[in-house]
Amino acid sequence: MSCRRFETMIALYVEGDLPDRKARRVAEHLEGCAACRELSEGLAASQQALKVLRGASVDERVYRELRRRVLARIDATQAGAWPRWAYAAAAGLIVLLGTWAIWRRPSPPPPLRETGRVSLPERSQPPVLSSAPASHAAVSKPRARRTAPAQVSEPRATASAVQPEFQPTEVEPTVSPAPLLVKLFTEDPDVVIYWIVNGNEEGE
């Protein structure tokens, strides 16, 4: 075994941390190797310095301050703690509040007022609305169907993009705080355009 591999064993040998068999092996090697003997003596000296730290004493004021801090922290913890019944009461209150919140459902919103149905003619281009304001002219009495029903190609088109071309005969001023729902039916039964007009005169 090379001296390098003996180093680890010598570091244990100087403090008696090796089993007997290995300790004898190290002792035999030290008898014949000056470099390892020097290493062993150096290790013994540094270990001696290390063990002097065992005798270190600390000013009693340090320990007194330590105890003061620990006891103050325990006091602070106990001062902030609730009695057990208070935790149970708080938990029960939370359960009651949660149950009440679940069972107390909000009132449903007022139904949207449907003032009429408009059938769109079937045509390849998107129809065009009249120039009347949306809050007034968007809804009218349904007119007679055209012979060529309109084909709305974009069922998700918004009311601002869809402008059916029709001439409303009557304009019903609709000034109402409640939202206004306009349903635009096309010849395609699967295509229905919903136009919601809110109180701010902005259709969407």
Binding site: E15, S46, A49, K51, V62, R73
Partner: protein, 214 residues
Amino acid sequence: MARSLNSDSGELALVMAGCWPDPEDGAGSGELRELVRLAKSGDLGAFEQVIILHQRRVFLTALRMLGRAEDAQDAAQEVFFRLYRHLRGFDESRGFAAWLYRVTVNVCRDIARSRGKHDLPSLEALVGLEEAATGAPDPSDQAASVQQIRIVQQALKRLPEKERAAVVLRDIEGLSTREVARILGSSQATVRSQVSAARLKIKRFTERFLRGRP
């Protein structure tokens, strides 16, 4: 029982416990068991006595691990606070020195990681070392001893965390390899390997420093 006791009462309690300077580690004395029993029932005066019995080993172990007295104070405070919280689960017929060492090592590791490394140990870390070195007959030898002690302190700080814990518990606290392995949650072979590496590094650092090449 009065909560705040002066040092005289503390020493009296230690004499009564029959465990000065090293408290029990296993079969505790009757006085110590009684203190623990009272502390478990909420007697803070008794708990303070328990702290007095173990404060030295906890504080000095933390000081060796962290190298700064302020950090060692914080660590020791945390260790004893945890002891108070877990006191109910302890069996007073058995000692909890091993538990204290384990928690001290863990707390020191957490503090060291959160605060980063420090270049040099504070001078407070060397309190009392001059007295420990007064065994030298010659003042110049005494000064050399103090210097060597300071160098060893610096060498300790440069060790990897696990090697430092192993060598502090084994060589400074004087615990057996088996006890150190149990405290650190390692095998004895691992502890021997860590202790061996630490001793070699301390020796090399010490020699380099004394030759003027730190």
